[in-house]
Amino acid sequence: MKSSAVRQGLFLIGLALLPAISQAIYFRDRLSWQSPIAASEMVTVAQAQAWGDSAIWVDARPDEEFAHDHVPGAVSLNEDRWNELLPQVLPKWSPEKKVVVYCSAQSCNAAREVAKRLRDEAQLKDNEGRNCVFVLEGGWEEWLKKNR
């Protein structure tokens, strides 16, 4: 029984490789294989601060964390209240502005999700059709380290 389970298991493991590889080939250009966020979609605190007034800071953390403290001038936009908050963010944006999205730390996912939705759903792009929405490296924690 044991050896048949191992043999069958190995067969299933091999079998699943075939569609998985095919699907990965199909998706090869649609995602970043080395980092969860493509390097071109990330920005450091120093770079983002150098953009000055042409940057809109978007806080993707939950409401209570935003209310507690946030980057000066940042607007809140989280997935929980996306439909409610998005109309407050869009009037601040214009194609020559860059959007910097952050969440709690490097390990959080919210900034990545909000940035993706701003690109895909709100269709934010600069005048030449290039990406203008960036995720802040290290998030709020990193901003705190550099500024306080």
């Binding site: 389970a5 069958q8 699943a16 590889i21 699907q23 998706f27 995602l31 080395q34 969860p36 390990s107």
Partner: protein, 144 residues
């Protein structure tokens, strides 16, 4: 007769759950890669490869349970996958990570930790019961 019908239902439900879970993740491999990455156990380049592979493995193993073809192999793999998943979920909770489990793609995004755990333990319980049944020599009829 009634007993074997009950076991057959357990097979179908467990297999169906994994087929469903696998299919949802196959439709959104990038989302699933993000879900794996959120556990902060594996580097991204492994998470993203697993995101393409694991859903298909789940699906084939679920089919193995339903069609009773490669039954023992499918059962063993699913039990192992579920155990690893439970350990990873508990470890993430202990480390204070606020994550979506990714078990049913983004459908399960808003489930709480106890909900995840309860479902996973129930599935593992069913798989272990099926394994014991096979080990005790009550091999399901027609199983290969």
């Amino acid at each position: 007769m009634v007993k074997s019908l009950v076991w057959r239902i357990v097979d179908l439900v467990a297999g169906g759950i994994f087929i469903c879970a696998g299919a949802l993740k196959i439709l959104d491999p990038v989302g699933f890669a993000n879900d794996i990455d959120n556990y902060k156990i594996l580097p991204w380049f492994i998470s993203v490869r697993l995101a393409f592979y694991l859903p298909w493995l789940e699906m084939f193993c679920g089919l193995a349970l339903i069609f009773r073809f490669l039954y023992h192999g499918g059962l063993s793999i699913l039990a192992a996958l579920t155990s690893v998943f439970i350990v990873a979920t508990v470890a993430a909770k202990v480390r204070g990570l606020d994550i979506t489990c990714g078990c049913f793609g983004h459908v399960s995004k808003n489930w709480s930790f106890p909900q995840h755990l309860a479902l996973d333990l129930a599935i593992l319980g069913a798989l272990v019961a099926l394994s014991f049944r096979v080990a005790a020599g009550n091999r399901p009829r027609n199983a290969i």
